[in-house]
């Protein structure tokens, strides 16, 4: 059955965006095949198993949560577009999250899926700023964030028109940047709006069994709609002819022809597929003179995972779902000078979603994400790499624990039954993203167009962020470039 070499649409990458695009296209009768180099689906939002435990990659929480009955938001749009009943995702809401700044988290803003909580926290901690904050929120609500051709503006500049206290400004940027910014220090305002809405105006939720629930639903829809997929079968190169993607050459040498190609693997990564095998005479085909090669994202992340023999609350860590922390005078979201920047980060306790009475994850999970510099992680020889992981694991945990209620080292050690850590190198190995840059290239291509007329981007580098954004990206690009054209 998987022997065809001709499709209406070929999709590169079986992450959230590629699967969502595939569902749309297959549902409307296109012959579509997804090519995935890895042996598992999910891409930047996948999961893996070690010692019988399943670990989510990427997903701390599904953002954009809204309760049933709330319409017109990204979650509702994607459920409708993919014909998914919201019960299928079985989303459970967060308990509460915090942004904690200062050497010990002295300034803290709590938030939940009820925006009034966050607003009252801002009013309490920053009474002089609340009017400006409200004006900012009004501007965010009014912004058309799904426009495919909005002119880029600095989010810092717009936020400063309303918020004059740099501490509050940084406390707003920290969660928003950690959950989606491919650029350092500042973001494009449209991207800021997407993430602000996703985190604060909408909210966090998680299926009890994590990201694999969402992937299972997507896979089932895709299969039922008649979509094909080929795993462990990456696309090695895109042969350009006459300004079009004429042929895809797979890792095993098979050639595939498709009327349209959607690539979810990132802009520089996609360009590399075209450029690498393009001979001097056919350089004109890829328009390389007109469009400079896209720069990959400069920063990546490490994540530490600690498995506990009890719920984090039982250890004394309370019921925070996510804690965004920063210990310094300013929040510095940039590629670190060292391997990891432990001054700021994100703590996630997947246990602390409201799974219903008597329902708890079987083990405690304590995850910490910090900014990482890709270079050293890639350059290290194996022994040095392993030693760095061990050393930085301890530093990251020590830094993050300053923002949680104190737990004695001995108690934590006694409760710990397993640990794991992923680095920029891990991310690059499993997703193919240059530098392990989770949020992709700094320059986003909102309309998904590339130098080739029938090759479009979806996913991270198209620029709808978060896992809901990833799915909407696939949907939007399939609609805009293929389905609307009949």
């Amino acid at each position: 059955m998987n022997s065809s070499s001709r499709y209406d649409v070929a999709i590169i990458g079986a992450g959230m965006s590629g699967l969502a695009a595939g569902i749309r296209l297959a549902h409307f009768g296109k012959r579509v095949c997804i090519f995935e180099r890895h042996n598992a689906v999910g891409g930047l939002n996948g999961f893996y198993s070690t010692d019988g435990r399943k670990f989510d990659v990427g997903l701390h929480a599904m953002t954009n949560f809204v309760r049933p009955g709330v319409k017109g938001t990204p979650l509702t749009k994607l459920l409708r577009q993919l014909r998914i009943d919201r019960e299928e995702f079985a989303l459970c809401e967060q308990k509460q999250s915090r942004v904690a700044f200062g050497p010990r988290g002295e300034t803290s803003l709590r938030f939940t899926n009820d925006f009034a909580v966050f607003e009252s926290e801002v009013a309490r901690a920053f009474p002089a700023q609340i009017d400006g904050f409200r004006a900012l929120v009004a501007a965010i609500r009014a912004y058309d964030d799904v426009s495919l051709d909005a002119a880029p503006e600095s989010a810092r500049a717009i936020v400063r028109r309303h918020v004059s206290d740099p501490l509050l400004e940084d406390m707003l940027f920290c969660p928003v940047m950690y959950y989606g910014s491919a650029t350092e220090h500042d973001m494009e305002f449209g991207q800021f709006v997407i993430m602000f809405k996703a985190l604060f105006l909408e909210g966090f939720a998680r299926p009890f069994d994590g990201v694999r629930v969402i992937l299972r639903v997507l896979l089932e829809k895709y299969r039922a709609a008649g979509g094909e997929r080929r795993m462990k079968c990456g696309v090695r190169r895109i042969v350009a002819q006459g300004g079009r993607a004429a042929v895809l050459v797979l890792d095993d040498g098979t050639e595939i022809v498709a009327d349209h190609v959607i690539s979810s693997i990132g802009l520089p990564e996609t360009e590399k597929l075209i450029a690498e095998e393009t001979t001097a005479t056919s350089n004109a085909d890829v328009g390389s003179a007109a469009m400079p090669a896209a720069a990959p994202g400069a920063h990546s992340f490490v994540e530490t995972i600690t498995i506990l023999d009890r719920q984090p609350a039982a250890l004394g860590w309370g019921d925070d779902t996510i804690v965004f922390f920063n210990d310094s005078a300013r929040f510095d979201y940039a590629c670190p000078r060292e391997w990891v920047d432990i001054r700021s980060g994100v703590i996630c306790f997947p246990n602390n979603f409201d799974y219903g009475p008597g329902r708890a994850l079987p083990e405690g999970i304590f995850r910490i994400t910090c900014l990482a510099k890709p270079g050293p992680w890639f350059a290290a020889a194996d022994a040095e790499y392993r030693a760095a992981k061990t050393a930085w694991f301890a530093d990251v945990a020590r830094s993050a624990r300053r923002f949680l209620p104190p737990v004695a080292d001995a108690d934590l050690a006694a409760a710990t039954i397993a640990t794991d850590m992923f680095t920029p190198r891990t991310i690059a190995r499993y997703t193919g993203h240059v530098n392990g840059a989770i949020y992709g290239a700094p320059r986003k291509v909102r309309d998904g167009r590339t130098a080739l007329s029938n090759l479009y981007l979806c996913g991270t580098d198209q620029g709808f962020l978060g896992i809901t954004g990833a799915m909407l990206s696939g949907i939007s690009m399939a609609n805009y470039h293929i389905l609307q054209k009949g």
């Binding site: 409307f28 749009k77 409708r80 577009q81």
Partner: protein, 87 residues
């Protein structure tokens, strides 16, 4: 096909693409957009489901003909009947 049957076809499609909408009191003479939360993505889906399920083509220039149930019936019923006549 009668105009009422045609309206039923459109309502069935809306029920599938927007299961979270209450369709029990849709007024046929009022714009769908004014009584239901349907955006441009949803309208595209109505057009595409008409093509997928019934082989009816609605060119982009005619999208405004789908504004209300009444206008849908006016515009689509002849298309359904022409298709049926062709057999």
């Amino acid at each position: 096909m009668t105009k009422d049957e045609c309206k039923k076809v459109v309502l069935d499609i809306i029920a599938d693409i927007a299961p979270d909408e209450d369709l029990s009191n849709v007024k046929p003479d009022v714009r769908l957009r004014d009584q239901l939360q349907l955006d441009s993505m949803d309208f595209l889906d109505i057009v595409m489901e008409l093509r997928k399920r019934h082989g009816i083509e609605v060119p982009e220039a005619d999208y405004m003909q789908l504004a209300s149930l009444d206008s849908c019936a006016e515009y689509l019923t002849p298309k359904f009947n022409a298709l049926a006549a062709k057999g």
